[in-house]
Symmetry: C2
Subunit: 291 residues, 2 copies
């Protein structure tokens, strides 16, 4: 069993980005984070993304707003960032307050600065197999993991567990493209799927993105499969100093014995997501220079 | 075995549209067709769509251009139609000459007039499950067929054979939505799929859109499945006055005995496609009135 080591891979990717940016002249790649309110998880995520950016030589800015900001005003702020030639990437940290429509806000980010890949335009370009499309960082991170571990996908059966806009659907679209490390037969399962185990057991590559701790058990996985675990779930753990620990959507202990390869949680896809955000920011910066 | 009768259904839909448009005041729904060159199939298709429009009270216009028109000039013409408040739908008939990029041309149609649903924006909105999205007429026609025949899809396994931008991918996205007559487990197969028969045999609903005459044989279909045949293929037939006849992607004679329901070719999905184009045109006209 091979461990798909997100720690090692993300270091590798971040190292390449750092090297790429070492001797540049002119404006450095710059990503601007927008955070509305003080949700502790959001504070933590944005903070850690900013640290990672600094490590590789990407400039980052943070704009924070109170929860009371109107959607109209927030859209105005995004519009100003869209027009700012020194800002190459814009990331609106979810979740947004209830009085806002997330889709409307995400769609307000200019397509060429949409490093999160959540806008209509980038999703449409992914369907169209446009290589310039920004692909959401988690599915893009999975794709990069598959590519760097040289996991064969052509003609293989990729089963995606979960149909979210952020992971499941773009991952499915990514692996069905006519492209290297794609060209797979793709199945999308979800909460309504009947006979789930019968379907997941057919997967050559199983991508678990359903958001339920240890949901994927050994009987759901084929001998010799590649399992990619996207879940980040808290479970109570009185033995841990924090009182909880983080586990994936896959019952790692039970499943790993059957796999050809598996990504752990933590230390797997989560780290790839952050690395791919940096990759997307550099891509946005490169695009801006071509214009 | 039930026949999914596209002739009957499309008449029903066109009848509803005709009734809907009988007593309207103000400008009638108007679709403009753009045809480049004199490809006989394109001449035929546009002509029959115009006839259908006239039957239901939709105005249609035809703009034809020589093959020699530059892409820039064609984009200029589309831009003028985008700005014309009396034109509600715009359809650029494929194929376009080799010197043009079809995606660029299709993307030039304003999203709210894109009755063919091929633009980046409408594909992205389909991924986002935006009910206002224009869905390409063939997959939308399949969806309507399923809805009007009350075929249960929730939790069922829909297998789509083919991953085209025009049928396979939007059909897959349509049936995986969280929506009535959707909520299905969806698999997309294609030319690279291994063990194809093993996968198609699992389909509760099999959508064949691979463009190969009689490709789907009885051993590829589960007993009691619903089979929807999107293929329109010519095969030689010396007994026919024309020397050929039209068949689908499914070996109808062999497969129909095993099915719960099947759509014939001709008389199936093809007629739904034209009916849904009229539906999309009325939708575009209604949207324009809300603005």
């Amino acid at each position: 069993m091979e461990l798909l080591d997100g720690k090692k891979l993300s270091r590798e990717i971040l190292g390449e980005i750092k090297e790429r940016l070492e001797d540049i002249s002119g404006p450095r790649p710059c990503v601007t984070f927008i955070r509305v309110g003080e949700d502790p998880a959001s504070v933590y995520y944005v903070n850690s993304k900013q640290k990672k950016a600094a490590q590789v030589g990407i400039e980052s800015r943070l704009k924070t707003f109170p929860e009371s900001i109107s959607q109209e005003d927030l859209l105005g702020e995004i519009s100003a960032l869209n027009a700012d030639p020194l800002v190459h990437g814009i990331l609106v940290q979810a979740p947004l307050p209830d009085h806002m429509d997330e889709r409307t806000v995400f769609n307000a980010v200019a397509p060429q600065k949409d490093v999160d890949g959540f806008s209509t335009n980038n999703l449409g370009r992914l369907v169209q197999e446009d290589p310039q499309a920004f692909v959401a960082c988690t599915p893009a991170g999975i794709g990069e993991m598959v590519r760097r571990y040289k996991i064969e996908t052509e003609g293989k059966h990729v089963v995606v567990l979960g149909r979210s806009l952020i992971v499941g659907k773009p991952a499915a679209l990514l692996f069905m493209r006519k492209a290297p490390f794609a060209n797979a037969t793709v199945t999308v399962c979800h909460s309504r799927t009947r006979n789930l185990a019968a379907i997941t057991s057919q997967a050559d590559i199983l991508i678990a993105a359903i958001g339920r701790a240890n949901f994927v058990t050994a009987d759901m996985v084929k001998e010799g499969a590649v399992v990619i675990d996207v879940g980040i779930n808290r479970v109570d753990d009185p033995d841990s100093p924090k009182g909880y620990r983080i586990v994936g959507d896959v019952d790692f202990e039970a499943v790993s014995g059957k796999c050809q390869a598996i990504s752990p949680v933590p230390g797997g896809v989560g780290l790839m997501t952050v690395a791919l955000l940096m990759h997307n920011t550099v891509k946005a910066w490169e695009l801006s220079q071509k214009e």
